[in-house]
Each structure stands twice: as C-alpha cells, then as structure tokens.
C-alpha cells in the first residue's frame, strides 16, 4: 500500500505493507536515526514525533501515520537548541539513543519550560541509555531549558 503523510515538513508517499511498523518504512526511506532496539516500545530509541507527540516507531503501524505529520531528528534545524545542548554537555557516548532522547526532550520542554530533576527523570523515563550518560543528559535538558 502507499502511505501518504508529511515527513519532516515535506509531503511524502512511502510504499509499505499493511502490517508493517512505521520504523521500517522510515528506515527504508533513508531516515537512519530511527533505530530498532527493543522492538516492544520500552526503550525509546526509535522515538519519532507524530503530530508533535513522541511515539515508538516500533509500535506504530505505518497506516496509523496516514495524513499526519511525522518528525525525526533529521527534520530538526541544524541549530536546534536541544541537540546543541546535548553536544555542549557531552550527553552521549555511542549516540544510538540520542535521536530518541532529543525528540522526547524537545516535547518535554514544550510542555514544561523549566522541568525539575524529577520531572526530567519522569519525562525521559521511557528512553534508555545503556552507556549510562544520564547525568549529562539531565544537564543537557537543563541547558536547553535555560
């Protein structure tokens, strides 16, 4: 089937199977920031924004994105404050979880411009970083909020 939606602010028509998750469709379209990791929606590494809300790409049927607006980190402007803050705070090691962290943090800061440590922990609770960069990730979110 043909999936029509907006990807990173541009109209897109992507070939997909009816039972396919959006993660695989986006990867085929060259958006390699969307990364299959746990496959069951608990780690946040394949997070994309659907109409601005973070969702797990591994749990979203491609068809559910039809006609909607989808954002991956490839669609963020180069000078976006959240990835800039991650870079400035060295808030990553291997970089695998970073796109999902950045998109989740972006939404968190839209909802709460000045989150406490507890609010950051809750907001990013569904994003795992096995390298354990959490202290610097928290610092990056604070920096982006400032």
């Amino acid at each position: 089937m043909m999936l029509e939606l907006t990807v990173n602010e541009r109209p897109a028509a992507l070939e997909c199977e009816p039972d396919e998750m959006i993660l695989h469709v986006l990867r085929r379209a060259g958006l390699s920031s969307v990364r299959e990791t746990c496959g069951i929606g608990v780690c946040g590494a394949c997070t994309v924004l659907l109409d601005g809300e973070p969702v797990s790409g591994c749990l979203l049927l491609a068809g559910q994105a039809a006609g909607r607006e989808l954002t991956t980190v490839e669609g963020l402007p180069a000078e976006h404050p959240v990835p800039m803050a991650f870079d400035a705070e060295h808030a990553f090691q291997c970089g695998w979880c970073t796109p999902g962290m950045v998109l989740t943090a972006k939404r968190l800061l839209e909802e709460n411009a000045d989150p406490s440590d507890e609010e950051i922990a809750a907001g990013l609770g569904g994003n795992l970083c096995r390298c354990g960069c959490y202290l610097k990730i928290r610092a990056a979110v604070r920096r982006a909020a400032a």
């Binding site: 990364r35 069951i40 780690c43 291997c94």
Partner: protein, 678 residues
Amino acid sequence: MRLVGYAGDAAADGMWHAAFVRSPHAHARVLSVDASALPAGAVALLPEDTVGLGRYGCQLKDQDVLANPARFVGDIVAAVAAQTPAAARAAAAALRVSYAELPAVFDPLAAVAEGAPLLHPESGGSAGDAVSIGVRPLAGTNVCHRFRLLHGEAERGFEDADVTVEETFRTAGAQHAPMEPHATLAQWTADGRLELTTGTQTPFNLRDDLAGVFRIEPERVRVVAPPMGGSFGAKTFTRLEAVVACLARKAGRPVKAVLDRSEEFVTLGRHPAAVRVRVGATRDGTLVAKQLDCWADTGAYADCGPGVASKMGYAGIGPYRIPHVRVDALAVYTNLPPNGAFRGYGATQSVWASERAMDMLAERLGMSPLELRLRNLLRDGDRFATGETMHDVHFEECLRAAAAAVGYEQDPRGKGLCVLLKGMQTPSRAAIAVERTPVGYTIRSASCEMGQGVRDSLRLQGAALLGCEPGQIEVPDPDTDSSPFDTRTTSSRSTYMMGRALDEAVADLSANGGERGYGEIANEGGLDPDTGQGIASTHWHQGAAGAAVSVDEETGALTVERLHAAVYAGRVVDRAGAELQNEGSMIMGLGTALFESVEHAGGQITNANLSDYCLPALGDLPGELTHELIEREGAEPHGLGETALPPVPAAIGNALSSLGLHVTELPMTPERVAEAAA
C-alpha cells in the same frame, strides 16, 4: 544533527537478509533439516553445506558454523537468506528440523559433579596466538579451563590466623544489552576474498578466526568495523560473522544479519558465578591467608571464559598484601547461551565476593572495615600474589576518597566501601600509523569505537603531539586491510596502549620528513595458568566506591541514597569522556547490584526482552551519584572504561551488611533483602 553510521546501516548491491533457525532444546542432536518447504527465492544454509569447515573460538576452537549437537536453547542449527528480513524469517520458519534430545545441565556446580552430561566430550583445540593465557581444559569433564594461583602456603597460613571467615557468594548472569544489536554484512569478492562490515571490538581476532573456518589465508579476509551503538564486551570475537559469511557464500551475494532483542539474549552474556572465599587475619587485622574457589558458568561454548575465570581468580585476591594465597578458578560449560567478555571481565563477580568477605572479617575482628582495608592495602613497591611488583599504586587514595564522600568515618551505619584492582590485557601489541594530509593528518588504528570515545582520545592525543587542532585529524574506521595490527579494543587499554604507540608514530614521522610515521608498542607478561605467577598486568586499574543506603525491612526495598566512585586516572586525556566512563560504569554497576539478572527455566531464558530484563533508567539513579578522577602530575594515562563498575555492588552490599543484612547473592532484590532481614 550529525548521525553515526553503524554496521546495521551498511548495505551492498543485491544484498539479502539473514534469519536463523535456532534449537528449541537445551541439548539435542540434529537428525535432519528438511528444506523441502523452503519458499522460492530463499537460500538455506544446511548442515551438509558446512562439511569440511574449520571450527572457531577465541580461546578454544569449540564452535561449528552450524551447531550439531545444539548445546543451548537458541543455538543456530541452520540459516536462510532472502530478499527482505520478513521473507527471511518466513523462510526460516519453513525449515523442519528433527532432533534427538540429550540430557542437559544448567548450573556450573552441577556441571562439574560426577556423571554430569558432557557438552564437549573432546576438548576443542587451543586457539593459537589469539590467546596468551595457556588454556587448561580438564579432559573428560565440563571444565574448559582451570586457573590456579599459589603464593606461599595457604593451609599453613590459615594456622596463623586468629579469625577466619568463609562464605560462598553468587552473581547472576547479565546482558550487555548494547542499544545497537549485533549486525553483520558479509560478501565474497569475485576473486574469493571474504569482506565483512560488522560491529566488533576485535577485528584482527575475528579475521584470523574466520580464516581458520574457511581455511584461507588471514589476508584473504577483510574486516571493517564501523562505530558500535554500545558493546560492553558483547561484540567481541566471532559472533554471527562465521554463519553469515557462510550463508553469503551459499547465496552468492551479500547477506546482512541484524539480530532482534530476544536473539541478543542468546548471543552472549556475562558469566554467572559462584565464588567461595576463605580469608584469615591475626587479631590486629593483618591478613595472613586467603583461599578463593571460583566457578564461572561459560555456557555452551568457551568463548573467552578461560580468560574471565583467570581474571576472576586473581582480581578476587584484592589489592592487599597477603603472604599465603591459593586460588582455584574454573570456567565450566553448561547448556546455557555462551558468556564472554563483559565490562568488568571477571572482576565484577570476584570483587563482590572478596570485598563482602572483608566486611564479614572486619565484623568478626571488631574492627572498622575501612581500617582493616587500610592496614593491608598494597603500596608502591609491594609484591602482589602473582609475584609482580606494583608501581604507581593509589589504592589508599581511592579508598579514602570514597570513604570521605559518603562520610564513612563520621558514621558508618548504612554505608559501605569497596576497593579493587583490575588488570589490563597482558601481553598485547598496539600499532598505529600517522599520515600527513592536505588538511592535517590521518591516524589509522584498529582501536574500535563503541561510544567509549577512542577516536576523540586519539584526536586529542594526536593534536597535542602534532601541534594541530583535533578537528584536523581524521580517524577512519578500523579496517584489517589498512589499519596496523592491534590485539583488540578491550580491557580499557586503548587510550594507554594506543596513546603510547602514537607517541612512537609521531616521533617516527618527525624523524622522517613529516609525511608518515609508524609506532608500535608491546607489553610483555602473562601468568602461568598452573601457578598464577608472572605478570598479570603491566598497568593496573585502581578504584573504590562508597555507598549509603536505606532499607524498608518489611518489603526489602533498598534505596541507594548516595554513591561515589574514585578511580585512579593518572593523566586525563579527554575530561568529558573520562567522566562518562566513570558515570556509565557506576550506572551499569547499579543495575548489576540491584536488579539485572538473566533468568532461565529448563535452559530457556524467561526474560529475554527489555521489559522483563530491566536496564537502569534516569529515574533509577541514586539521590546523589558522584565520582572523581584521581590524577597525578606527569603520570601516564590510565584506562578508565570499566574500573568504576565492579566496586558498586560490594559497596552497596557492605552498606546493607552494616545494617545487619547479610546478602550473598546478586542482584540484591527486595526478596533477598527481606529474606536477610527475616
């Protein structure tokens, strides 16, 4: 945002995708594989396709490309390739395998008992120069390696002791759980060369192992190692590469495999272990004798279990002067998925046991655990139990820093300490090449990037030596065709070893017109596996941790209020990178201490997903998690990649024990804590 290209992102023209047929039995002979229902357009790799191939394995060559018998639930008995991952999975499901089940064993102590089913009735051949440890399998048993260390006369030593404690401690199996799963792309060139793009920390070991499988010269194998999305030991030695290469040859086209998370759980883990400690001291707290017996469950294949058992053995002695020591450490086969290198490499298991036993001894002596440690710590010029002389020793500084951070001397209740030593791969070689380019320099090495920041470390060290900006230095991916030889990217050795090789390379470049330079460094040593004497490490990782906890004795819920690690860094090369190593190690240590455990029933892993197997998240951090890098003017850089992990569980366990809660098994779940309180 600049994105990293990982092995799973690699593609080749005409590439197909792999799927694996895995044994549902823990131990079973494969009687037949029926491929008659294989869909058109798929290719199957069947047992008859692997006849005549060599075996592989980094320390013992005990693995076949396709397993028969299958030795654990998940062992690969056949494989398929097809145009899409979904088509490959469907094709794999179409193969019909018939098995004859064999008796199985799932515990290392049961596996060494008389009459236990044998996994490898004939020992695998020693794996040549990929190893340096002198593997000692015990013929006719499930013991694939026995490491012994004899220093003084332990039995006589215990006669001098006024107080002796003895306890057996256990640690659970764990998953590395790198966010990026294993991914491998293999293809054969028209002239019969094998080329792989794969996530690996060990490109040269892998090249040599695969050359043995396909019976070709090592130079006929090319391994390119892109950055990894984490590894922590998971992507060491030969994992999927042999079967994917074989499948690509059969398919006559490039084939890529990317594992799903449940397959990760049967690919490699950390050795569950039992460690029995007996330690004795005189009334004044002077250690006189120590005995350690270790059983490391290496699963169905040795992998580097022999090396892990050896390191478990000597790391469990601890950074102490002890006149009489006896260590007996076994790597034992069981019918569980293989275990191998894991951040902390054997030290995690035996440091838990050894440092918990120190607090038991202190209690029996009526002495502060801090004072007992300080009284016995190794100092500069002391000899370790291996006979080697210790240099640049900072255990006391690390321990005092950890104690001070948690206010241990003011009030030790609810607080615990741990101090450790951990060796670096010895012997080993590292080589590096520097070339001038129009914009600066290219530094070629086989040091693999897995998030630990080795490329930044080389850029920073190179920039300082070459008088340029780090951004002018290009560090290409390791490639066995063009990168000089390196033993491997393990044991926190790259900044130190490759950094020294880089010094040589830059000196060579300066002496030869400034265009090209080459440097090579070797560290010599190794331990005799029968006596444990020799040089365990030319460079010691030294660290300590302090913890403060509170407990709800009714529910067993344990809260870590404060956690601090102090690690000897020598000279710091990349400050943010160094901090990240300490923080990451501590957080991984928290998971090990509190909740990570690979569970199995009848050989089947029962929590093979990231919902049932929990990884630490941001909300799991202690109220205060802090650390420090202990630096010394003029010192060499010290490896930092792992040191802060092994002391975390024992510091927390000792904090519990200061409250009268004696837990001997990791993780310290609420159930175990409540049981200790009952």
